[in-house]
Symmetry: C2
Subunit: 192 residues, 2 copies
C-alpha cells in the first residue's frame, strides 16, 4: 500500500499545555527550537496539511515567531531554503481550539483529534486501523505532548488514542522528535 | 511479526566525518547535544547493542564525554535516571574503525556495515529484506551521517545501502534524529 491517504487532510499539533511535569503537576512547557525544526521537517516530508505549535504564553509564541521569521523570511531563508520550506508549515497558536478552528475554516468541518502517549491510557487504536480510518477522509489532528506527557483530563476529550510505540526493551522514553517521526511514518509512510 | 531479530546484535553509529558540508566539501561536523540524547533514547527503546558517536576531533569527543558524564554519573543521573539509562548506550570514538573493532571484540567477528542516505546512491536494500538479513545473525552496524550526508567514497565501502525514507511530498530533508527513529522502527519495531 502506498500513500492511499491524502496527507493534506492530516495535521499535527505539539501541545505545551496541558501537560505534566516530572512531579505530575499540570504545567505549560517552553518551546524548544529543535521541536520546531524537526517536526516541521517530518511534517513536510509526509506532506501534512500543517503543524500547529500550541503555547498559551504570549512570550513563548513571540519567541517561536522570531525563529520562524528568521528561517522563512530572514537570513535563514537565503542560507538554507529547505528549512524555510519546512518551517513554513508551522502555525503558532495559543490553544488547541485555535488549531481546530483554523482547520475547520479550511475544511468546513472540525478535525477529529488523535492523541498519542508513551503509556497505554484507556482504549487505543492500532496503526493499521488508524490508516484505514484516515482513508475515510478527514480532517484529522494528531496531537503530541511535551514535558512528561498530555494530561489524563485532556486525553479523555480526544476522539482516538494511538497505541504507544514500544520496543522490546521496556524502555519507553522516546523524544517527541523521534516519536512523532515514527508515528507519522507508521500512519503515512510507504509500507515496507 | 514481532521482534524476530535480536537487537543486541545491532549497533548504530553517528558519523561526524567523512561528511559533506552545504557546499559539497568533505568536513568534520560538530557534535550536537540532542543527537546524543535522541538517538540514545531511540537506541535504548529498540534494545540495540550500542550507539557509537564518531568524531575525529579530540575536543569534540571531550565535550561529548562531559555531557555523558553529567547524565550517566553526575547530577543528571539523579535528576532524570531515564536519561542516564539511555545515554549509557553511547561510546564516543574517533573513527568508524574503532567502533568496528569494539563490536568485533564483543562478537568475535566484525560487523557488516549498513549505510543510510537521504538520496538513492547505487543499489539499495529495502527494509523487509534488511529485516530478513538481520534475522540471519549479526553483528550489524547501521551508520547515519551528519551535515549534508555521508561521502560517496565512504558509501562505496559499506556492505548495504538502505532505501531512503521518502514521503509523498518529494521533500527529503528529515533531521538525523527523525530519520534514525523511522529507520530503527522499520528495522526493529513491531510490525503494524
Amino acid at each position: 500500500m502506498r500513500f492511499k491517504v491524502d496527507p493534506s487532510n492530516i495535521y499535527v499539533a505539539l501541545l505545551h499545555q496541558p501537560v505534566y511535569n516530572k512531579s505530575g503537576i499540570v504545567v505549560t512547557t517552553a518551546i524548544t527550537n529543535l521541536d520546531l525544526h524537526d517536526i516541521a521537517r517530518t511534517s513536510k516530508t509526509f506532506g501534512l496539511g500543517g503543524y500547529y505549535v500550541v503555547n498559551q504564553m504570549p512570550a513563548q509564541r513571540e519567541l517561536a515567531g522570531r525563529i520562524l521569521k528568521h528561517w522563512v523570511e530572514g537570513f535563514g531563508a537565503e542560507y538554507n531554503p529547505n528549512r524555510g520550506e519546512a518551517l513554513g508549515v508551522i502555525k503558532v497558536v495559543a490553544a488547541i481550539e485555535d488549531a481546530k478552528a483554523d482547520i475547520q475554516a479550511r475544511h468546513g468541518v472540525p478535525p477529529k483529534v488523535v492523541a498519542t502517549a508513551a503509556r497505554r491510557v484507556g482504549e487505543t487504536v492500532g496503526y493499521a486501523d488508524m490508516r484505514r480510518i484516515f482513508e475515510g477522509g478527514g480532517p484529522y489532528l494528531v496531537v503530541f505532548g511535551t514535558g512528561w506527557g498530555l494530561t489524563e483530563d485532556f486525553l479523555a476529550t480526544v476522539d482516538y488514542m494511538l497505541e504507544p510505540i514500544e520496543g522490546p526493551s521496556g524502555y519507553n522514553h522516546l523524544s517527541v522528535r523521534a516519536a512523532s517521526a515514527i508515528i507519522l511514518d507508521r500512519l503515512l509512510g510507504n509500507r515496507v
